[in-house]
């Protein structure tokens, strides 16, 4: 079976700085793969490259065998590779439910003109979006805040909303950049459960960047570790934990040791 994502020798240079340097790895359909590495290692840049938000200097990304690098980001999203943001990015002046409904855009069958004219298809679409949004609200346990303005939400809920927005697009692969950042232990464990269910119940392949090592070890099928833009290790959580280079990278940085 072809891997759902193939990252091939991808490189990104910003002027003299090489943020991502010749990184290659595959992602299998249905797995949860984490990318770890010290601050500034190039993890977020890697995600932007995969979702085509920044153009690669060289190398390419294949989705189900088709090249997706150099496509516009909305086209990549349309194919099913969707990125949520490290900085909790949401539509601030919309309610939780509105955020989720608008994010169903990719699923619309009616054209924009159809929506303007209020055709039958458009009405069906809107009804389907609303129903699906309610499903997602239930799935993520956001019932209590569904009509809350997004700008009023606390951190933890914002992360969940970010994930809800991603889910609304009906992704095949979702890229989560630091989904547990700023969360306490309980919130993190809840989120870990959600990410698992995302894969188990909705069949979504998950790529995530995370600093919370216990959470990463718990959740991941496989881990890729990068340092100074280069891949230094790839393997199961157990293999990564015992990898000399990984330990060295973490000891050499200001990040907390890779404790667990």
């Amino acid at each position: 079976m072809t891997p759902i994502l193939q990252i091939k020798n991808i490189t990104k240079r910003y002027g003299g700085l090489t943020a991502v340097n010749d990184v290659s790895f595959d992602v299998k359909a249905g797995e949860i793969l984490s990318v770890i590495g010290p601050n500034g290692a190039g993890k977020s840049t890697l995600f932007k490259l995969i979702s085509s938000f920044v153009p690669a200097t060289s190398g390419e990304v294949l989705f189900n065998g088709t090249r997706i690098s150099s496509l516009a980001p909305h086209k990549v999203a349309r194919m099913g590779v969707v990125r949520t943001f490290q900085e909790t990015t949401i539509f601030r002046s919309m309610t939780v439910r509105e955020n989720i409904i608008v994010s169903h855009h990719l699923r619309s069958k009616a054209s924009l003109l159809g929506f303007f004219l209020g055709t039958k298809q458009a009405k069906e679409d809107e009804a389907a979006f609303a129903a699906s949004a309610d499903d997602i609200v239930d799935f993520l346990g956001l019932q209590a805040i569904r009509n809350e303005l997004a700008s009023n939400l606390p951190q933890g809920h914002l992360r969940a909303l970010g994930m809800a927005i991603g889910l609304a697009t009906d992704p095949k692969v979702i890229l989560l950049d630091e989904p547990f950042a700023g969360m306490n232990h309980d919130e993190t464990m809840k989120m870990v459960g959600l990410v698992r269910r995302l894969r188990d119940e909705r069949g979504v392949t998950v790529l995530l960047v995370e600093h919370d090592m216990p959470a990463v070890m718990k959740i991941s099928d496989r881990i890729v570790c990068i340092n100074f833009g280069q891949k230094i290790a790839e393997g199961t959580p157990k293999e990564i934990r015992e990898n000399e280079k990984v330990i060295e990278a973490y000891l050499g940085s200001e990040d907390a040791a890779i404790g667990m």
Binding site: F91, S93, A110, F116, I165
Partner: protein
Amino acid sequence: MNAKKLLGFAAFLLVVFVLVPLIINATGRWGFFYTLTSVALLSVAAAGVWLTFYIGRINIGQGAYALIGGYVSAILVTQAGVSFWLTLPIAGLFCAFVSVVIGLPILRLRGVYFAMVTLVLTEVARLTALALPITSGAKGITSIPLPGELSLFGLTIIPAFGSLSNPRFGFYIMASVLMVVTYLVLWRIVNSRLGHLCRSLQQNEELSASIGVNTAYLRILAYAISSFFGGIAGAMFASIAQSIYPSSFVVADSVNFMLYCFLGGLGYVFGPMLGTFLLYFGWDLLSIAKEYQLLIYSGVMIALMLVLPNGVLSLLDKKEGGK
């Protein structure tokens, strides 16, 4: 549309098409038709500016499209003998086309950068009108004939304006119809998915792209619709004044369109209409203050923006607690 809104809309139509004409007829102040016609047309152009605000862009260039629309209609009517009624949509479409060409590069800019470029557009349009042979330079185009008859399948829909006993009343009705249609279209845009996507663009362009919105296309679309409104407003202005000059729409007009939107409220579809009405009459009323007119006007504007940053219509919100 719920019952309350429908009722409000009906009341609005009643005021515009029945009450106001009756009052003007009774008082004999015919000049008022002309003033209200201007307000209606300005609010059509302002509606376009408002739509660009709605995708998160500050548009200070609507005067350019009003000018282009005016010239397109005037040239077609005077030099090619085209019916004014046909030139109206042509002027709008021409402006939409121009705005696509201009928008492709400049809509990538955000915030103050986009605003600056659009500010220059009006001046560029004026200078172009001065320079081109077809616009006949500073002399402008004058003695544009009044709109002729509009008929469909032999049925007269609108009589020739020359034959009307009171063309001013005709223009008032026509401009009001245009205004009502424009705002219905705008209302429909805002309340359909198209509007929701515009809002997503306004609030976060990156996220909008990541949920699969073709942000570049949507920006162009909104800007084209905006410029279409500017174009038809300009075309009607030229027809009513029966003339158009390079100075018919200048930078100050473009700035005013933007102020109408600010004052009425950027979050409310009918904001620009109310804003146009208030500012236009506010300015006129202040003429009693003679040399202090501009000073008072500016002072009031600043005060209003400080006290009501979300526009006059936000007063309704506070009372009802929600939109």
